[in-house]
Symmetry: C2
Subunit: 201 residues, 2 copies
């Protein structure tokens, strides 16, 4: 399999941690790309016209995106360990994954607004709106730490969202009012899969 990759993308990290935890990492060839919404990659665009990473090409040539689809595909190769197959457990895990992905989406948009966009074109209300999504999402996660016990796609996604805040939005100080979530990440962060995918500082 081939994975279009950047070392700082939280969505790519979600796929890589999933692959490591499932014992599939050795089957994946990394294809680094350096992209933003205003700096596309032709090679990536030929595989995923939306031009986002992660994008996976399976061994039979099947092209897969986005990260939600890729992670469930990888999980299916190993019999389904990270995605509950049905029932309340499935909807809880998928909703929590969507919450973590929503935090990552908002964090990436906040980062684009305050770093990629020319300084004279920045809109404070937009960046503040994205930050509010992040803060509210973290508050909900603080109350749901009990639901993150065990390794699922939800716990992987939450860990990646928090790791991205540490990388790019450290000034938010997300740990300050969230002791449960902070403790939870401290434990998750000891997993070799999290250590091995730590972004460059």
């Amino acid at each position: 399999m081939k994975l279009y990759y950047s070392p700082t993308s939280p969505f790519v990290r979600k796929v890589l941690i999933t692959a490591i935890e499932l014992g599939l990492r050795e089957r994946i060839e990394i294809v680094p790309v350096d992209i933003s919404p205003v700096e596309p990659s032709d090679a990536l665009n030929r595989t995923n016209p939306i031009g986002k990473i992660p994008t996976l090409v399976a061994d039979d040539g099947t092209e897969l995106y986005d990260s939600v689809v890729i992670c469930e595909y990888l999980d299916s190769l190993q019999g389904g360990r990270l995605f509950p197959a049905s029932g309340a457990a499935r909807w809880q895990v998928l909703r929590q994954q969507a919450l973590a992905d929503g935090i990552m989406d908002a964090a990436v948009l906040a980062r684009y607004e305050t770093w990629l966009r020319p300084a004279e074109l920045r809109w404070k209300e937009w960046a503040d709106g994205q930050t509010s999504k992040i803060e509210r999402g973290l508050d909900v996660l603080e109350g749901e730490v009990g639901g993150l016990a065990g390794l699922t796609i939800a716990s992987i996604a939450v860990a990646c969202s928090l790791g991205y805040l540490d990388l790019r939005l450290g000034h938010l100080g997300w740990r300050d009012r969230r002791p449960q979530l902070s403790s939870w990440l401290a434990e998750f962060a000891q997993r070799p899969s999290f250590v091995a995918t730590r972004p460059p500082g």
Copy 2:
């Protein structure tokens, strides 16, 4: 069930068409909200901290988002008609749904850039970058129309993405170089579920 709703959101339309096609529409109470990333709704935020629609509250109180999760949940209530359960068919449908959702995401961001954001803060390269994602996505769909035969979450998502382009980005003239996709939508658009969810003009 309760669905946080706007008549112009393509992601809400995806959920509503799914509900209608599954015979579940009568079980869903609509809760209109008028939001943007800089104008949140407190009521919505208490259910979905990311503050996006669609958000569904199931009869047992389970909160569900985003549209991908809601649609699969609704499908599970009727035995799984729109999401293939496994195998190549599942990955094809989920990847095509992600492609259509990616077109919608890019279209919504392009709309925010050219309409919501104050005129003096607009960045042409950003809007152009989002438009390029849409154009490339449409080109891929033009070559994949054969894969959209039959009613699946992929065909529903593609129809909603094209409907949103007609609503908000008509100047792109997406039909001009895409006769297959244009014919495909003309047929899909006859479905009562598509007619009943047409956004106000």
